[in-house]
Every structure is written in C-alpha cells, then in structure tokens.
C-alpha cells in the first residue's frame, strides 16, 4: 500500500500540497490531466491493518458519498481501494469550515438565522436522499461561494437502504460529543432526527457562544443529556427572542418524537418567526428544578432505546394556494374539502396557506385599494377566515400573502422556500385569455418540484 506524499501519482491523480491533517485522514490538493476544476484527495490514516474504526468509517464514506447529489454535498470524482492506496477524490470547496466562525463566539441574530436556515436546507436535501449524516458539527460544514452549505465527512453516516457497516462492528456510541443526540448515545444509528438535534445544538451555540451540554469527554458525562436540560438560551442572552428559544429547545428535545420531525419544518419556522407557536419552552428563563430533573433521571435510567431508524421522516408540508377573488369563490368549499381529506391521511401535516397579490408589471403599487384599505392586511384576514373551516391548531398552520406580477412564480418560489411536499390549488374555468396567456395552475404543475394536485369544480 502506498503512502501519500507530495508528487505521488495514483490512478492519474498527482498529489500537491497537504491541505489538512486530521485525526483520521489527510487532505491533499490533487491534479489530473482530464479534470480542470480544483480537486482534493482524502486519504485515511491507517496506522496498521487492525485500525477498525478508521477503515470502516472510510468504507462508509466510499459507499455513501458517490450516491449523493446536489449542491449540499461535494461532488465525488474517484475512489481507490486498499490494493494501492485508499482515497476519495472530490471537488475542492474553497474557504474554511464554519468552525472558524463558531470559535469567535455568539452570532448576530440575522447571521444566525440565515446560516441555520442554510444548514437546515442541506439537511433536508440529505434526508430526502435517504441519508442521515450523524456527525453534524461546525467542522463538517462548508459554505459555497453561492451560499449553499456543504456537508462533509460521511464516515458515521447511515443510508436508509444500504447495510450499516459500522453497526455491524462497533458497540460504542459514535459521534462528536457536544452535538451527539440522546438516541445516538443509546446507539440508535440512522434516525434523521439525530441531525435535527445536532442542528439544535449548533443553534444554541450560535446564540449563546456555549455548547448546550458543555464539552463532555467521557461516556458518563454524555448520558446526562438524557435528563439534564440545557440552560435556556435567553438566560445567557436576554435579547434573544422567545420564538428562537422555542425553535432551539424544540430541536434539542430528548425524545425525537417531540423534536421537529423534519429539517424542512425547522427551516419553515426560522423563516416565519411571527408564526412560531410559543410554549413554556420558549418562555422559560431558568433550567428545570432539581425535583423535575430527579424525576426525569429516574424515568430515563432504565431507558435502553430511543428514536428509530428512519421512523417518520415524512411529516409533509402541504402548501395550499387559495384564490380569494370572486372568481375563485366557487372552489372555496371544494378546496377546503380536499385539504381535509388529505389531513385525514396525514393528520400531522404542516399546512402553509398562501394567497398571491398580483402586482402590476409596470407602474407603482400603492398597497392600498380604492377605499384606502391595506390590501395585504385585508387578504390576510380573508385567508384566516377561509382557514377557520379547517379547524386545525394554530401550530400546524401558517399564512403568507405573496406579491408578484406572476402568481404561478410566486407559488413556485414559496413552495421551494418552505420545502413543500405537496401543492394544492384550484384551477379556474377555461377562458380565451388563459388559453393564450397560460393558466397559473398549468405553470405550477409544469415547474414545481413538489407533487401538485389541481382542484376543479365538476361540470
């Protein structure tokens, strides 16, 4: 087996400078006559033939990474086996990991929200491909120049449909201790909600400059997160809004069932702070009392399992576009009936209601109608009135009035932002204008990345 060094050529890749040396691998800049873009090579540091965790972690990366796609993961170019030299060649992503930023202490609120939303986007994209990362931490997050967060280091990851090489060999909790989820401590590998917990820990650290459970180094300290609640972030940073603490502590719930069920939902709340439903979690200002903790500890002591592999990663986000114009009224009841039908099958769905104010292509919009009423407010009132018929708890609903000269584009953009799984909308009747100019629903059907159901009045 070859040892990596500057100038070495393996399978056409020539090693340049060593860019990084970590505990388990070295990273090298490499060039290849057939590739023009900047590439790096990751080579595991195998001390001897018996270095189990490093070898299997590396094999896990080789198994999972080439099967991922999209902007949130590095593009894989080539891999090598143990016959010559084990390696993975991937695109180089310029810049440092987010660790450098985390080292500087608490974040400004706007940066925090922006970055956390981008991490949530990356997690949603990864989970959609059937992979739980299971080692989300600042050092494993890079950022593209275009803004997307890129997840790296898949050595502990778990693919829903492929065998888990790690579980077969090791019987210790695997992960990075400040960010590891309680169910990982109890050795459930492959619950995507473990990544939501890690994101919660990141959010906590961004907000307060501290890790929610300190920096444990021993297994015994690690278990404490099963019963000891973190100091509420607002105790450490009083200017932090209650809604953000609500999001952070919900992501950090011990029981995965009580957390956000998907990254898209967390992302959704970050984007709609006004609609986060506050509970005691968001309001609390001090840690739980000793009696509560003692009771919780007693309950948790016998617990041997928590979470489930790919339990229910699909709590869908249903986007409903409601046409509030007199013309759309005919479909109001029918649309309501269909939303109710869908909720019978997926009662936990998040329902995002939108209405589009069509702005003029040219000219100035005043935002007030002929009577001087604020159009935005009156639409919101009408939308909430319509939604009352759904009889859904507030926590499951969000309302958004969009403004765009192109209604379909507004719906498509919003669906992308909230990570909608399903769009439900009505189609108006047939008219000559629509035949030539195209209908809103036709464009949404043609261009949406989510499923789309179009409701029509019979006849």
């Amino acid at each position: 087996m070859l040892k990596p060094e500057k100038g070495l050529t393996v399978d056409g890749f020539t090693l340049g400078d060593q860019l990084h040396e970590g505990g388990f691998a070295t990273i090298w800049a490499v060039t290849h006559p057939l590739y023009r873009s900047a590439l790096i090579m990751k080579v595991p540091k195998i001390l001897d033939g018996d270095d189990g965790p490093t070898i299997v972690g590396f094999e896990t990366e080789q198994m999972i990474m080439p099967r991922l796609s999209g902007p949130h993961v590095p593009r894989i170019v080539a891999e090598g086996g143990f016959d010559t030299m084990p390696y993975i060649v991937q695109e180089a992503i310029p810049g440092q990991s987010l660790q450098a930023r985390f080292d500087k202490g608490p974040w400004a609120l706007s940066d925090l929200i922006e970055t956390a939303a981008r991490v949530a986007d990356a997690l949603a994209a990864l989970h959609a491909q059937g992979v739980a990362h299971l080692d989300i931490k600042p050092a494993n997050l890079l950022m593209r120049e275009t803004g997307e967060v890129v997840l790296i280091d898949f050595g502990l990851s778990r693919h829903r449909d492929l065998p888990d090489l790690l579980e077969e060999e090791f019987r210790i909790p695997m992960g990075t201790y400040p960010y590891i989820a309680p169910e990982q401590v109890l050795q459930t590998r492959g619950d995507p909600r473990s990544d939501i917990f890690a994101l919660g820990a990141l959010l906590y650290e961004m907000a307060t400059g501290k890790a929610p459970f300190g920096m444990p180094s021993k297994m015994k300290q690690l278990k404490k997160r099963l019963w000891l609640d973190p100091v509420p972030p607002r105790f450490l940073r009083p200017d932090l809004p209650e809604w953000l603490q609500e999001i952070i502590l919900r992501a950090l719930e011990v029981d995965p069932e009580k957390r956000y069920q998907t990254a898209a939902q967390l992302r959704f709340d970050l984007a709609h702070p006004g609609q986060v439903v506050l509970t005691a979690r968001g309001r609390k200002l001090r840690p739980d009392g000793w009696l509560t903790i003692w009771r919780r500890r007693r309950k948790m002591r016998g617990l041997t399992r928590l979470g489930a592999t790919w339990a229910k990663a699909d709590v869908p986000i249903l986007l409903v576009a409601v046409d509030l114009s007199p013309e759309g009224e005919a479909l109001h009841d029918l649309l309501l009936t269909w939303v109710r039908r869908m909720l019978t099958h997926q009662p936990e769905s998040r329902v995002a209601l939108v209405n589009v104010i069509r702005t003029a292509l040219l000219g100035i919009d005043t935002g007030t109608d002929a009577q001087g009423q604020n159009v935005h407010v009156s639409r919101l009132v009408a939308l909430k009135h319509w939604a009352a018929g759904l009889e859904l708890p507030e926590a499951q609903l969000t309302f958004q009035i969009l403004e765009n000269s192109d209604a379909a584009q507004a719906i498509l953009d919003h669906a992308g932002q909230v990570g909608a799984d399903h769009i439900l909308m009505g189609a108006r009747g047939h008219s000559t204008t629509r035949r030539y100019l195209g209908s809103v629903s036709a464009k949404v059907v043609a261009e949406a990345s989510a499923s789309v159901t179009v409701i029509r009045a019979p006849g």
């Binding site: 033939g49 018996d50 070898i55 198994m63 891999e79 143990f82 065998p163 060999e169």
Partner: protein, 243 residues
C-alpha cells in the same frame, strides 16, 4: 457489463420465462446460470432447452449432477423428483447437463453452484463461517453462488473479517473495492425466504454494484403442474409460500 445471474431454476417454466422477460426489459449484456436447472419442478426439459438456446455461461448444480449420478444423499422429496426428472429427459439433454463444468469465470467474477471451497461437495453457504471458507478459496473480487435458495451478501474486509449483510431488494449495493464479496443468489424456481417471487441478481461490473431482484410469476400454475405430474405435494405448496 450488466450480467444477469440466474440459479436454481428447478424445472419451473413459468418462473424462468418471467425472469428472462424481466432480464430483457432491464437491458442486460449477458446471462450466467449457476446450476440446478432441473429437479423439483414439472418442466425440466423445457427449462433445459431454454437455457441451452441462450448459449450462456452455465455451470452444474447438485440436481443436474444427480441425473447421471445418484440421488442417494438427497432428501426424500428431492430424490423422488430426480427419479421422475430422469425419465422426462432425452439422452442428449442428460448428456448436456453432465458436460456442464463445476465452476466458471466471467470478467474476473467467480461462478460456482454451492461453495468455492469444494465445488463438488455441495456445501451450503448459510453463515459467516461457511462464507469464510468460500471467500478464502476464491481469489475473485466477487464470487457468485446459489444452492441455498435464500439471497444473502457477504464481504471479507482487509482485516480478514467476514460480515453477512441483508440487502434490500431492488437496491443497488456498492461492491466496495476495499473488500472481496460473495453473493448467494436466490432461487428462480423455488424461493425459500418466504417470498414466492422468483429471485435473481444483476451485477454491474462498470459501476461495481449488485442488485438482488425479484420477479413475480404465476406460481399457482406451476404448483398445479407439480401436482398433476404426481410429484410430492410439499413441492407444490412451497412454491406458493416461498418457504
């Protein structure tokens, strides 16, 4: 190369026809048959002719060997079926079976009916220890075998550890270059993993992947034929339960 691997057809015409149609639909470049074309099932002659026409790499299984040899070491039902099968086959068909090799190789892949450890001993690879024997005996990066009628994948890593893993049907499994692999392919004609659908495997040597596949077929029709032929009732029933 996309190689379709079929094994343990066991005279099941309906299953073989359905699998071959599936293989064609999925665009394979080659077919390999790992033996046991006859035995148990009601259409040994048809299945044998069909495989012979394909002119693909074919190796011998224990039931194929028993046609000219003896079924003495077989279970009662298997022996009864072999005796029945012997009477169904023309001499040239029996000769063709007899001439089949015990092992073969395609593009560096090793093919054997039971275990590479001792091909003529018909060892069942059903556990990590038996897989270890087979993996140690073969030098190939991927060894393919049948005989067990239950699909399973084993790997031998660089530390010499053998691990069995269950692979989801239809999911392409990467054959990591850091390990050597042994795929036990399920049976076309008599599945025994509680799924009555015909089993086979698709190996993609370019992408270094193996996919275990299942193809539904009319097992009721075959079961009726088993009964009509006067073969043991248990052989009809197990086609329906896949057990």
């Amino acid at each position: 190369m996309r190689l379709a691997v079929l094994t343990d057809i066991h005279g099941n015409r309906e299953a073989l026809a359905a699998v071959l149609a599936d293989v064609t639909a999925r665009g394979c470049d080659a077919i390999a048959v790992l033996g046991d074309i006859v035995g148990y099932g009601p259409d040994p002659g048809w299945c044998l002719d069909r495989i012979r026409e394909l002119n693909c790499v074919t190796i011998k299984g224990n039931h194929d060997a028993a046609i000219k040899g003896s079924g003495a070491d077989m279970s009662t039902n298997a022996r009864l079926a072999i005796d029945w099968t012997r009477a169904q086959l023309a001499p040239d068909q029996a000769d063709w079976l007899d001439a089949l090799p015990l092992t073969a190789e395609i593009e560096g892949l090793a093919l054997v009916h039971a275990s590479a450890e001792a091909p003529a001993d018909w060892i069942y690879v059903t556990s990590e220890p038996t897989a270890t024997g087979c993996l140690r005996a073969s030098r190939a990066r991927l060894t393919l075998c049948g005989h067990v009628h239950v699909p399973q994948l084993y790997s031998l890593d660089m530390r010499g550890m053998v691990a069995g893993m269950t692979v989801k049907i239809g999911q392409a499994m990467p054959l990591l270059r850091t390990r050597r692999w042994l795929a036990v392919v399920g049976a076309v004609g008599q599945p025994r993993d509680r799924c009555p659908q015909a089993a086979w495997a698709l190996v993609d040597t370019t992408r270094d992947e193996i996919t275990f596949r299942r193809t539904p077929y009319d097992c009721g029709a075959t079961a009726l034929k088993v009964r009509a032929a006067g073969l043991p009732e248990a052989l009809a029933l197990r086609l329906l339960s896949g057990d």
